[in-house]
Point group: C2
């Protein structure tokens, strides 16, 4: 029997309209779909594609404890990969639902590491939260000869600051509980003027705020900051 | 009369299937569409959306001399903005077709600069060539706490090298005639091992090659290089 294929399907940042035709078709044609949700909550990726799951589709749902930080998540991916392999070995394709784009800071990467080389792997790219946030803010990510740096807010201030100083256009992802640190880094690197925090992209309560005016509250893990500076600091 | 809205519509990297439902609907509902093509060639963005342009849609087509480098392109955007404004003032919405994502190194940024504040501007984000290239290469852009830096190959070697040295994950865009320079920069910064060149994403002749094995040929302007290194150099 020919083994099935694993298909990492980017389902976009939240708005079901930001699904691509290719993603919708991959989901409609796959006998099995797999996804991860935060423990105790419905999977957001599953909600986004609700209109495209045919009756009779087999669903592999996994629960992830969301700590807000990179923790030891290896076991959940081992379990998930194992369940997917069992389907692939039966000749069934498995579409793995991925919020945003599968290969841009996506958890699909951890499945790809476990399955690549053993099974045929296909990726359907998606609209990332970074692009959707820029669209809401109506603000360019980068243009022309500008350098764009993407920084995870989970890094230490000591690591973030020199990287921010070297960049002219910045996106800081995974802001979560790191608002005060991010603001301090951007102030030191000359990026605070005009920096914006984009929250809950694709949700009804999505919003854009000037970072300067945000109190040191905890924002959602997927919030991001966009910042720019005319020229690199000397 | 109420003025029309300008809608920057990301149409994805080339495959018509990588259009989003939202983009398709924006094009179907707009009485006017606008786009730029290289002089003497059909607009690629227009080709991508061919299945979604209703009969009777007014089309504003502009020709751009593609030099492969950032030249003085301001006049074409002035002309384009002027033609769009004439439609907006008649109360008609104008959908501007943008390959990839409108705000990620997209030419829509130059129209936004000219129209923002004067007219209502809306952006429909799209799948960028960067995400599509990663999908073809089946290779992560970045994950976890990795820093991703996007470098335009048009920068000088002296500017590129320190930025490359500081990064763990690199995407070099606009490779075009800069293959030899990009390879030299990546060799110096420890990124050459495993670096790949992705060409013609979304076209029939799309391909992925090891950068090390690419001769010093001129590749297409929209080609990009993906590279990574385990740890920053000291």
């Amino acid at each position: 029997m020919r083994a099935g294929r694993v298909i990492g399907v980017g389902v976009g940042p939240g708005d079901p309209e930001l699904l691509t035709f290719k993603a919708a078709r991959a989901i409609e044609r796959s006998p099995v779909i797999a996804y991860i949700g935060a423990r105790g909550r419905a999977s957001r990726a599953r909600q986004i594609v609700a209109g495209h799951v045919r009756p009779g589709t087999r669903e592999l749902a996994f629960a992830m404890p969301m700590t807000g930080e990179a923790g030891d998540t290896a076991p959940i991916y081992d379990v998930m990969a194992g369940a997917i392999v069992a389907e692939l070995e039966q000749g069934r394709d498995v579409a793995v639902l991925c919020e945003g784009d599968p290969l841009f800071y996506g958890s699909f990467i951890y499945l790809l590491e476990r399955l690549q080389g053993r099974f045929e792997c296909v990726v359907v790219p998606g609209v990332s939260a970074m692009m959707a946030s820029a669209a809401i803010a109506r603000r360019p990510l980068a243009s022309g000869a500008a350098v764009l740096t993407v920084l995870p807010a989970t890094l230490s201030e000591a690591r973030l600051e020199p990287l921010a100083r070297a960049a002219s256009r910045l996106v800081v992802i995974k802001v979560g509980r790191h608002v005060a640190k991010v603001r301090a880094v951007l102030r030191a690197s000359g990026h605070l003027d005009g920096a914006v925090l984009v929250e809950n992209v694709g949700e009804r309560d999505e919003r854009v705020r000037e970072l300067r005016k945000v109190k040191d509250e905890v924002v959602s893990y997927f919030s991001l900051v966009m910042a720019s500076r005319a020229e690199p600091l000397p």
